[in-house]
């Protein structure tokens, strides 16, 4: 696996630490957790103790320091060495839930919400999508009516990663009129009367990650849990998107790298017609095409991250990286299944699972079509 061009010595050492954690703490149970559709909650504490949840967050709030590039390589090691995409994304749900609090919250909120999550003591989730509202964020309907020192929240959120176990949910609500100017962010805590997990959702992939529908019924949330000004929620959500999309693109590169490596291993060991599969030109070329797709996606994701780290955050480039990487991932995983033949269709085979995980990426974090709209608007 080639490191990204933006990486230095400390990324290499960080990768070693993350790899060791993934090999020891995730890989042995990866298949079992995926089948059980859950990983132990204690894993958050272990990852927090190892300082891995805090990568990319300021030390002041319990983070380990570093930047988005460090975060990306930790996630890559979790996928490649841990071999459970569901566990990686479940452990990483704070990657979308916390940044608005770090960026736009006040110190009291950072102390209450950011620190315990980075220590792995609490689980966090981001809730934007609703049953009737996905990509069109500005049309969300979950209502928050002001009543003295509280907001009274009514509505439903769905497809919430870590939703069932979340102790705190960074939630987009409508505090004002229709349109984006009427949206605010509230942190809603587990145990608040009126907040409940209405159901656990069954998915195509990402099984080990808990995904839920949440409902709010006359749920009273203190005004001090509002992140930033009233009506400033839409901008805070948008500010999250570049890194969220680059992170998803990075996961695609990691999954595709893993599927490629698994395919090489299989093609060297499996024999047909008296020779290993890699002895056939058709297999070698298929593997070469897969390697090329991964390298191209890695290069574009690397450019997006490098520019972002240099202060040049480009939503259209992040969108391109996400589309290019999710396409590469889907294609490489499909090839990987084909190389594995009948075994590629069996639940016990890693690439069977990766192929299902891959289907999320042209949808989650902004669909392929929304990415293309962003790209089309940029020139």
């Amino acid at each position: 696996m080639q490191p990204y061009l933006f990486e230095g010595d400390e990324h290499a050492e960080l990768r070693r630490q993350a790899r060791r954690f993934a090999q020891e703490r995730i890989a042995p149970q990866a298949a079992a957790w995926e089948e059980a559709e859950e990983f132990p909650r204690a894993l958050y504490g272990e990852a927090g103790e190892a300082g891995l949840l805090g990568v990319g967050y300021p030390e002041e709030w319990g983070g380990s320091g570093g930047d988005f590039g460090h975060m990306l390589v930790v996630a890559e090691e979790f996928v490649v060495a841990g071999t459970s995409v569901g566990t990686t994304v479940g452990l990483g749900s704070h990657g979308i839930a916390l940044p608005p609090i770090v960026r736009f919250g006040d110190d009291a909120q950072r102390e209450r919400f950011v620190r315990p999550v980075l220590a792995g003591e609490k689980v966090s989730a981001l809730a934007i999508t609703e049953p009737g509202c996905g990509s069109d964020v500005a049309s969300l309907r979950t209502r928050a009516r002001r009543d003295g020192d509280h907001y009274v929240v009514d509505g439903v959120k769905t497809f919430i990663t870590s939703g069932r176990r979340a102790d705190l949910v960074t939630c987009a609500v409508r505090t004002g009129d229709a349109g984006h100017a009427g949206i605010s962010l509230l942190v809603i805590e587990r145990g608040t009367p009126g907040f409940r997990v209405s159901r656990k959702l069954k998915k195509t992939g990402w099984w080990a990650s808990d995904t839920a529908e949440l409902s709010f019924d006359e749920c009273r949330v203190p005004v001090k849990n509002r992140i930033g000004e009233e009506g400033a929620g839409f901008a805070a959500i948008m500010a999250n998107f570049v890194t969220e999309r680059l992170a998803l693109a990075g996961q695609c590169v990691a999954i595709a790298s893993l599927a490629h490596a698994e395919s090489i291993r299989f093609a060297q060991a499996r024999e047909a017609f008296g020779r290993p599969l890699v002895g056939f030109q058709v297999t070698r070329h298929r593997l070469a095409d897969m390697a090329t797709r991964v390298a191209a996606a890695r290069a574009l994701v690397g450019e997006g991250v490098t520019r972002y780290l240099a202060g040049d955050a480009r939503p259209s480039l992040a969108a391109m990286a996400k589309n290019a990487a999710s396409d590469a991932c889907s294609e490489v995983c499909d090839h990987a299944v084909q190389i594995h033949g009948g075994m590629g269709y069996m639940r016990e085979t890693l690439v069977e699972r990766l192929n299902r995980d891959a289907r999320l990426y042209p949808i989650g974090g902004g669909t392929r079509e929304i990415m293309n709209e962003l790209i089309a608007k940029s020139y």
Partner: protein, 279 residues
């Protein structure tokens, strides 16, 4: 308290297929190898760090100095030790593959005389050469007591007297030694309550992990700024000649991969005797 921890890099056993012998059998080639810290050294470093910190307050109360003998690119292994929490490092320029145990012990003795640590805590052996004699040579050269295979270590806050437990076939032996001394550790030293230093509260429980602590990103960044003294065998005034000559290396024969299932212990013994010829 100041503790000297000798460390050495070894070929990553997860990539053991990359270990190759030179065509003429004169050496093991190191090209393309991925390195990691010798596990026994990693446990000893963990023990040394526990003895010199207040774990409850996450603060350092002593000094750990790691020392290695190796070429420039062994610096990566040193940085790993510094990232885990050691204060500083010493690298003695040398080809670690060419030195024998007596030379290694002589170099470490010279470093110890210069550094004057309260303790030396080190791996009982390195997983590549597996000699398991350097700690004993070193203690002899320094005239210090040697305490091997400690499974627990307890000091008071001053750290001058160390109480250690060793697991024997017949039970657990408890020893007390006044520093300076050379100590080697068994894997049980990683038990969450195996090391007590009179500073960290006695009821403190370390996380149960296989191996030493994870280096955090913060530790990794800090390690880049920590001092590494570079010196040479000559500068240290060591003139020890090799007492062991390596004459040839060869890889073990490839395994056949054949598996035989047996129904009973009798059949197993019979096959080990008649077929495998190991009994």
């Amino acid at each position: 308290m100041k503790i000297l921890v000798p460390i050495k890099r070894v070929a990553d056993p997860d990539n053991a297929n990359k270990v190759k012998v030179a065509p003429d059998g004169s050496s093991v080639t190191s090209e393309g190898l991925e390195w990691k810290l010798n596990p026994f050294d990693e446990w000893s470093l963990e023990a040394a760090l526990r003895l010199t910190e207040n774990a409850a307050e996450k603060s350092r109360v002593g000094e750990v100095v790691v020392v290695t003998i190796g070429p420039k690119d062994a610096t990566q292994t040193i940085r790993q030790g510094l990232a885990m929490g050691a204060e500083r490092a010493i690298r003695v320029e040398g080809d670690d593959a060419q030195l024998d145990a007596w030379q290694v012990a002589s170099v470490l003795a010279a470093v110890a005389k210069k550094e004057q640590p309260d303790l030396i805590i080190m791996g009982k052996q390195v997983v590549d050469g597996d000699s398991n004699v350097v700690p004993q040579y070193l203690a002899e050269l320094l005239g210090w007591p040697a305490l091997n295979y400690a499974q627990s270590l307890t000091t008071d806050a001053e750290g001058k007297t160390v109480k250690a437990q060793r697991e024997l076939d017949t039970g657990v032996e408890t020893l007390e030694v006044d520093g300076p001394a050379v100590i080697t550790c068994a894997d049980r030293i990683l038990h969450p309550q195996a090391v007590k230093n009179g500073v960290t509260p006695d009821d403190f429980t370390y996380p149960a992990i296989e191996g030493g602590r994870y280096a955090t990103l913060k530790g990794i960044m800090k390690a880049k700024r920590k001092p590494i003294d570079e010196t040479t065998v000559g500068d240290l005034g060591v003139e020890a000649a090799a007492t062991v000559q390596y004459t040839a290396f060869e890889l073990p024969p490839a395994r056949s991969g054949n598996t035989t299932f047996v129904e009973s212990v009798e059949e197993l013994v019979e096959k080990l005797h008649a077929d495998a010829k190991v009994l």
